[in-house]
């Protein structure tokens, strides 16, 4: 297992490097002068052309691209990501206020949706061809075919504005920053962000369950005199989730990308909303860095799910597959 862990960890490094290169190239093509986001704007206002040219030399902006790339990478690692073009705030500061909000939203959304998707798929398979199965399948179809922002807007209208059960948007009531005080704000976005993911997961789990329920080892387990609950959970379900892990890994980027829309719909101050705001303000450096963090989050999440797959399947752990 340890060997597997390090092997996966090693394959992680080139992926991150590729992402940073892509982001760097993106920044290179940003229209305008890179110097504009490398030094605080208020400082720039008092500079002459000459000092700026000097700055450019000092900052190495005239160096070849690959040297600038490594310098830039070093700065990022030190936490120096430049400045926003719009308000001159350090990009690192923006990220540190926005990133936790998004991590909270997506991690909770992911957890809730995964649990619901697996649970519904499991129930649907056990009750196959019954009204329960049919209704879950129908709900699943609705879930994958209607875009999430529609569910989001409907939820805001119904629960936020009509019944006023939940705040229609935002992340917290001013002055009440505790996690438990934030929960009412999280309920709707957390549920909505995972709708299509839940539906997809449910469909795959159901199929996978139906498949494993017919396996010889399940019949053999039953012949030991085990209870149906144990046969279904410890043998059928345990094996059924292994192929489903691939679906989970594949859906993580889609789920995280969903924050761009969902955060805007719920006026939730996270990375997704930040990206949208920065795009409309043409604040490319912020867009790029925010994208970098989102890509990083996707990589880390996939890495964790990969490790979980290995824990679940001895054949992966021992490198037989």
């Amino acid at each position: 297992m340890l060997k597997y862990f390090f092997r996966r960890l090693l394959s992680f490094i080139p992926k991150i490097l590729i992402i940073t290169i892509l982001i760097f190239i993106g920044l290179e093509f940003v229209p305008g002068d890179p110097i504009s986001y490398l030094i605080p704007p208020e400082q720039m206002a008092f500079m002459t052309e000459e000092t700026i040219a000097n700055m450019r030399e000092n900052l190495g902006l005239n160096d070849p691209a690959y040297i600038r790339y490594f310098k830039w990478l070093g700065n990022i690692l030190k936490g120096d990501m430049g400045y926003s073009l719009i308000n001159g705030v350090k990009i690192s500061d923006i990220i540190w206020t926005r990133l936790p909000a998004t991590i909270e939203l997506t991690a909770l959304g992911f957890a809730v949706a995964t649990i619901l998707g697996l649970l519904f798929g499991f129930i649907s398979a056990l009750k196959r061809n019954t009204p329960i199965d049919y209704s879950l399948t129908a709900l699943g179809m609705v879930g994958v075919s209607i875009p999430e922002f529609f569910f989001g807007l409907s939820a805001i209208v119904v629960f936020g504005l009509t019944f006023r059960w939940l705040p229609p948007g935002g992340r917290m009531t001013p002055g009440q920053p505790g996690f438990f005080q934030r929960i009412p704000y999280l309920v709707m976005p957390v549920l909505v962000i995972g709708i299509s993911y839940t539906a997809t997961l449910m469909r795959y789990t159901r199929g996978s369950m139906l498949d494993t329920m017919n396996k010889d080892y399940v019949k053999a387990a039953r012949s030991k005199g085990l209870s149906e609950t144990r046969v279904n959970l410890v043998h059928s379900f345990r094996n059924a989730i292994i192929p489903v892990m691939i679906i989970i890994v594949n859906r993580i980027p889609i789920l995280i990308a969903g924050t761009v829309v969902i955060e805007s719909v719920f006026n939730y101050p996270g990375m997704g909303k930040l990206i949208l705001e920065s795009i409309s303000g043409s604040d490319m450096p912020v867009v790029m860095i925010a994208t970098f963090f989102i890509a990083l989050a996707v990589l880390i999440a996939s890495f964790l799910v990969d490790l979980l797959s290995a824990l679940l399947d001895p054949r992966i752990r021992f490198g037989k597959m």
């Binding site: 017919n214 396996k215 010889d216 080892y217 019949k219 053999a220 387990a221 039953r222 012949s223 030991k224 005199g225 085990l226 209870s227 149906e228 043998h235 345990r238 094996n239 292994i242 679940l312 399947d313 001895p314 054949r315 021992f318 037989k320």
Partner: protein, 338 residues
């Protein structure tokens, strides 16, 4: 001598419902298993051997159900249970599965759960039925693995199924089956997936287990050679029915049913003369969902009469313990049982 039987299957009927179609997989099947002996169930592919075996402990697929008949299990002279009285996954039946009656399945190479170690899987059966500490259970399992010829059983205890060869997996399946010391072991073609040398080893192991533990065995096979080697009694099945039942000697020396005769001619039997020619049975098996008015074997039978197309033959006991389902022996019946 009824009490001598540990298992009696009486007029068992098992049906598959597939859409609107009903497949009569097992029809009026009866046979007896004497305590401590081996009963062979033979017949060509699709004749209902596996479905019969699965019906005993109701391990049938969802589409199948038992429509009638009895499965009488007599663990001790004072007690007889009718297993068909119990619901499919009822507590009563579950307490018998794996403990009193164990089964090795036809596709035994895929009968091990790929995600658990083999020790864990044997342990699951053992601790389900016996109150043992983990340590005691482990010791017992390692002893059993050793008995079954698995090298370095302490290390192999933690191995996963994909680390085992076919023959070794089959040994593990026998270990799972035998770990609770069952009264009956049902082995459904335990050697078909294995190569010939391993086949002989596995059969020898089953026989050894039987002798050591006094287990009664139902051995399903389509290999008459295996039957001749280790069975005491034989049930010959054709299209969901037992067409002939008798002791090994009765079946091999004095076969009556035309199908049994043909079957014996169509397979090589150990000790058979070199120049005896093998014959194949004329015709093909009809589809299992076909419903016959008369005898199922009539279309392929060289001795078919008019009566055979009109009426199902009844079972005749032509000799003590030797039963045939064929119109040819109508007059020879010792007594009319039905």
């Amino acid at each position: 001598m009824e009490k001598d039987y540990i298992l009696q299957v009486k007029n068992l009927e098992t049906r598959f419902k597939i859409g609107k179609k009903t497949v009569h997989a097992v029809n009026d099947v009866s046979f007896n298993l004497r305590r401590g002996t081996t009963l062979g169930v033979v017949g060509e592919s699709g004749c209902g051997k596996s479905v019969t075996a699965l019906s005993i402990m109701q391990l049938l697929p969802k589409a199948a159900h038992i429509e009638g008949g009895q499965v009488l299990y007599t663990p001790s002279p004072e007690q007889t249970l009718n297993l068909t009285d119990f619901k499919r996954n009822s507590k009563e039946l579950r307490s018998i599965r794996g403990k009193d009656i164990a089964m090795i399945f036809q596709d035994s190479l895929s009968s091990l759960d790929p995600v658990y170690s083999i020790g864990w899987q044997i342990m699951e059966n053992l601790r389900m039925h016996e109150k043992l500490s983990k340590k005691e259970a482990k010791e017992k399992i390692i002893r059993m693995l050793g008995e079954l010829g698995i090298p370095s059983p302490e290390d192999r205890f933690k191995s996963y199924p994909f680390e085992f060869s076919g023959g070794m997996k089959q040994r593990v399946m026998i270990a799972i089956g035998m770990i609770c010391n069952p009264n009956i072991l049902i082995a459904d073609e335990p050697t078909t997936a294995l190569d010939v040398t391993i086949q002989a080893q596995i059969l020898a192991l089953i026989k050894q287990m039987q002798q050591e533990h006094g287990t009664s065995v139902i051995l399903i096979t389509h290999n008459m050679g295996i039957v001749a080697e280790i069975c005491d009694e034989v049930a010959v099945m054709y299209m969901g029915r037992v067409v002939e039942f008798g002791s090994l000697l009765q079946i091999f020396e004095n076969p009556h049913h035309p199908y049994t005769k043909a079957l014996l001619k169509s397979v090589p039997v150990l000790g058979m003369g070199k120049d005896t020619e093998l014959e194949s049975i004329e015709g093909t098996t009809p589809d299992a969902s076909t419903v016959f008015k008369g005898c199922e074997f009539e279309p392929r039978c060289p001795f078919a009469m008019k009566k055979c197309t009109e009426e199902h033959p009844m079972v005749c006991e032509i000799e003590e313990g030797h039963e045939v389902r064929c119109w040819l022996y109508e007059e020879k019946c010792k007594d009319d049982r039905r």
